[in-house]
């Protein structure tokens, strides 16, 4: 690996394209071109210099912008494919996905499912794509930012004419009073907030260099963001659970190791007033009630330090808060969100024990549908025993009464009714809309009297310890993006030798603004407005065409 010695005497590392000292093109290609390639200041980049070992090859692969763009485009295409049909998480969870995609979307849906596109964003290859994006971001940035930083930090004021002449904006003027012109130019550029350095009749005016770091800052932010997203898969970082709480009840919050409890004091659904003047038309068109608010009046409790896990906990109130959509309850890295609800779930039922013949009512019993007692003693030899309880009643395949769940959506009972006349008890089967004697004509019956219902709220329990990474990453990304987009790095070189003044300029983007700076420079100092080589080149080409 030979170092390259420039005519100016400076020794440059292998791979350098423009002399670090004077800017002269060092390679044949650069010497012959009408414009120098100013990207990364012509500094030697690892990826452009070495290609021997395996490490070099991997490094070069991921540092290539071309590869980076391909990764971006592939991610783009893959992501959009995932929206053709709903992802698995958005289809009803009661159906078999294989059947669902086939039934709903036909042969296309079947192919979609077979290829695994129903869970595209969680697939290994999508993850691999994102991972390679992250690797590309890191390697491509390091490969460029280090040489660029060194080159810009060490850049010298006097530049070789060969360098100046090959800038996109270049002009040559013969002046009478060179010193005076240079002083004027300095004043103009200072007024435009350029940083100015002078050396041996050469001048370098520079502004907005920090915008050159924008891309690397935003890449760093993205890497932190992606790291945060990856941390999701480590145990303990992420909790995604649901807790259902009935009104008046307190439930332990899953994921908190039994430390926190939530009480649902009340759950309500509010609707918009149909006679509301402002919204009347829209509400009429909607055709049904429009929900205004879902709300759980909640109380958060923490287990008292003294109580032991396993025993009935002693609870200390932490806070009382309304949980609404867009207003989660937050505590200790957790948040509870209003997710779902069930109105008027059966809670207690009241029956009376009646004498059929006389119609006399002996007494009433109230049954807690979630915790029915085995027997209800009514005194004087009267007693009701719950022989069987079916919270969600149906006849099973064998034609026997059974229950499909423990939620009392359709409760039914087999009561055993004891009375002085029937010390062995009479059996009756009671459910919603049915009341049957089990063995024979009974003298007594259980009559339905009343029902109590409660609303149930469902809350999402969420803990996400990756959020700090996401927030920091996204913030850094945004800062870098703005830094790189809303400022541009502009440089103006002025070199004077006797009565000759050369001016050249370079901007990493937004050349129009640089051109305007040159225009004012030219207006104030009488220096010739530099010509735009790119414009000339294009004009020539279009003339050739026409």
């Amino acid at each position: 690996m030979n170092e390259i010695k420039c005519d100016c005497g400076h020794v440059n590392p292998y791979g350098t394209q423009l002399c670090q000292n004077c800017g002269k093109p060092l390679e044949e290609k650069g010497k012959n071109a009408s414009m120098v390639d100013m990207r990364y200041e012509g500094a030697a980049r690892r990826s452009q210099t070495y290609n021997k070992s395996m490490v070099d090859k991997i490094w070069n692969f991921f540092s290539s912008v071309k590869v980076g763009i391909w990764i971006i485009v592939l991610t783009l295409v893959a992501s959009s494919i995932g929206t053709i049909f709903p992802q698995e998480m958005y289809i009803p969870n009661t159906v078999d996905p294989a059947e669902h995609y086939k039934d709903e979307y036909g042969i296309a849906g079947q192919i979609y499912y077979t290829l695994g596109f129903h869970n595209l964003y969680g697939s290994w290859w999508y993850m691999a794509l994102i991972a390679s994006l992250g690797i590309s971001l890191i390697i491509a940035s390091i490969d460029r930012v280090v040489p660029l930083y060194k080159a810009l930090k060490n850049q010298r004021v006097p530049r070789n004419e060969a360098f100046l002449k090959r800038q996109r904006l270049f002009g040559h003027t013969t002046v009478r009073d060179a010193d005076n012109t240079l002083d004027k130019a300095k004043a103009v550029l200072k007024g435009k907030r350029y940083n100015i350095r002078e050396e041996n009749g050469s001048l370098l005016a520079e502004k907005g260099r920090f915008s050159r770091w924008g891309p690397y800052v935003n890449h760093l932010g993205l890497v932190i963001f992606l790291t945060g997203a990856m941390l999701r898969f480590f145990p303990g970082m992420y909790v995604d659970d649901i807790v259902w709480v009935r009104e008046g009840e307190t439930e332990v919050i899953p994921g908190t190791d039994g430390q926190y409890f939530i009480e649902n004091e009340r759950f309500i659904v509010e609707l918009y007033d149909e006679n509301d003047e402002t919204f009347q038309e829209a509400l009429e068109r909607a055709g049904g009630p429009t929900v205004k608010n879902f709300q759980t009046d909640a109380v958060l409790y923490k287990r008292a330090d003294t109580s032991v896990v396993g025993t009935t906990p002693e609870l200390e109130e932490v806070k009382e808060e309304d949980i609404r959509v867009n207003h989660p309850l937050r505590f200790d890295n957790f948040a509870l969100y209003q997710l779902d609800y069930k109105l008027n779930e059966l809670n207690t039922m009241t029956f009376s024990l009646d004498n059929r013949e006389t119609g006399e009512s002996i007494d009433t019993i109230e049954i807690d549908l979630f915790d029915p007692k085995d027997e209800y003693d009514l005194g004087d030899g009267y007693k009701v025993v719950i022989d069987s309880y079916f919270p969600n009643f149906e006849f099973n395949d064998d034609g026997e009464p059974s229950t499909t769940s423990s939620i009392p959506d359709n409760p039914a009972f087999i009561f055993q009714m004891f009375s002085p006349e029937h010390p062995d008890g009479e059996y009756s089967f009671v459910g919603i809309q049915r009341n049957e004697d089990v063995f024979k004509e009974n003298d007594y019956q259980m009559s339905f009297r009343d029902v109590n219902t409660k609303n149930v709220t469902a809350l999402t329990v969420r803990k996400d310890l990756t959020l700090p990474f996401i927030i920091v990453g996204a913030s850094i990304f945004m800062i870098g993006l703005i830094q790189g987009s809303y400022w541009s790095h502009r440089r103006i070189w002025i070199k004077q030798k006797d009565k000759d003044v050369w001016i050249a300029g370079h901007a990493n983007k937004h050349w129009e603004s640089l051109r305007k700076d040159f225009q004012s420079l030219s207006d104030e100092t009488g220096l010739v407005m530099p010509e735009d080589k790119l414009k000339q080149k294009n004009d020539k080409e279009s003339e050739g065409k026409g």
């Binding site: 959009s80 929206t83 969100y337 969420r462 129009e512």
Partner: protein
């Protein structure tokens, strides 16, 4: 208040129409004003710009009064959002005109703005109450920032379009001319869509169907255009309405599909008519008007617009979106179609910037990319909202 708001929007629309005319005169007028020198044509540009400002002020009036009437920022349904996008686009134009003073940009941007506002007006425009998920300050923050970002990015499209019309060789019939004419045809289709909707609305056309929806239930659907495409197992309820020629599957919104078909057909008719009158490609007919435009300047305007718009869009469409999603939907990212398409937009413009900065995709290629980018934005606005159902399909 609502009426006032509607009138202000109408004023905006006509101001923008006037601005379009002024800008067009300023661009084309140079020829017959040549003797007075180059600057003379620019006075019309100034008129155009002033008219644009007046229109924009009126649009701000629309926004504020509607906000007062509804009690929430008017960006909550398709009508409001699409209108706001049009206003945002005119706002972005004002910014870029301030930097570059290019009249031709006005000549192309203002008609697009008008088209977007006209498109918005076919959606139900009454003030709607907010459902619980939308009751948040993030509604205005997220939606307005996103719309402004998209508006600025759309300027990149307008400038890209100018570049293509200015530089393409219309005497050679190739792929490029075909696709440019395809863009023209798409714009013409939007015009015909708006026209058709208004024509049949004035005629009070309605055709109701009884049909079977995607859940297998009986439902009713009313068409505002003659049904070429009917709903799934549809049965016509309106007397004298035409019988559909084809029946659509249940998962597709057949009335929307029917509207799209009508627009495309009417677009073909209108486009064919224009071709007959002009006797050359539409782009080719406009090209001579743009002789005095420097392609490099237009290219830079287009790039500048994207460089300004990209961070704004990212902030509104991804960052603010993630913050709100974390608050309302319990997670900052959930692969909802609208979220994914915001990501696709982001990735697309990221690819654009890398191609431009590192691979030197300037000029024509860059202009084509701007066109595709705009197509993605419109796809996300129209198709994802109306066809792919998701958490965002509130309209």
């Amino acid at each position: 208040m609502e009426t006032l708001s509607g009138n202000l929007l109408l004023i905006t629309f006509f101001m923008y129409l006037l601005a379009t005319i002024f800008f067009t005169v300023s661009v084309t007028g140079k020829k017959w004003r040549n003797k007075q020198g180059d600057m003379s044509g620019n006075r019309w540009g100034t008129f155009g710009f002033i008219t644009t400002i007046i229109g924009f002020v009126s649009a701000v009036g629309y926004f504020v009064t509607r906000w007062m009437a509804a009690g929430h920022a008017p960006v909550s349904n398709m009508f409001e959002y699409t209108t706001f996008l049009g206003i945002a686009l005119s706002f972005a134009f004002i910014i870029l005109y301030g930097i570059y003073k290019t009249n031709v940009l006005g000549m192309f941007t203002m008609p697009i703005v008008m088209l977007i506002i006209a498109y918005a007006s076919v959606f139900p425009s009454e003030v709607e109450p907010l459902i619980p998920a939308l009751q948040s300050n993030w509604l205005k923050i997220h939606v307005t920032t996103t719309a402004i970002g998209q508006g600025i990015l759309s300027i990149g499209f307008a400038a890209g379009l100018i570049y293509l019309v200015r530089t393409l060789d219309f005497t050679a019939r190739g792929k490029k001319v075909f696709w440019l004419e395809f863009i023209m045809y798409s714009l013409v289709s939007v015009v015909s869509f708006v026209l058709i909707r208004y024509i049949f609305a004035i005629a009070n056309y309605e055709a109701s169907f009884q049909y079977v929806d995607e859940n297998g239930n009986d439902a009713e659907m009313t068409y505002n255009l003659p049904p070429i495409l009917g709903p799934n197992e549809g049965e016509l309820l309106t007397d004298g309405a035409m019988q559909p020629l084809l029946s659509m599957p249940a998962w597709l919104r057949s009335d929307d599909a029917n509207t799209v078909l009508w627009s495309l057909l009417a677009g073909i008719v209108l486009y064919a008519l224009l071709r007959l009158i002009l006797r050359k490609p539409i782009g080719g007919a406009i090209q001579p008007l743009l002789k005095g435009i420097h392609p490099e300047t237009v290219d830079e305007v287009s790039y500048r617009a994207i460089a300004i718009g990209f961070p704004v869009f990212t902030l509104g469409g991804l960052i603010f979106a993630m913050i709100w999603a974390q608050i309302a939907w319990t997670r900052f990212w959930g692969w909802d179609p609208k979220e994914v398409w915001a990501l696709v937009t982001f990735l697309f413009y990221a690819a654009y910037l890398h191609l431009r900065l590192s691979k030197g995709w300037h000029g024509e290629r860059s202009a084509w990319l701007c066109v595709i980018g705009f197509a993605i934005i419109m796809f996300n606005l129209i198709f994802v909202n109306l066809v792919i159902a998701g958490l965002h399909s509130y309209a």
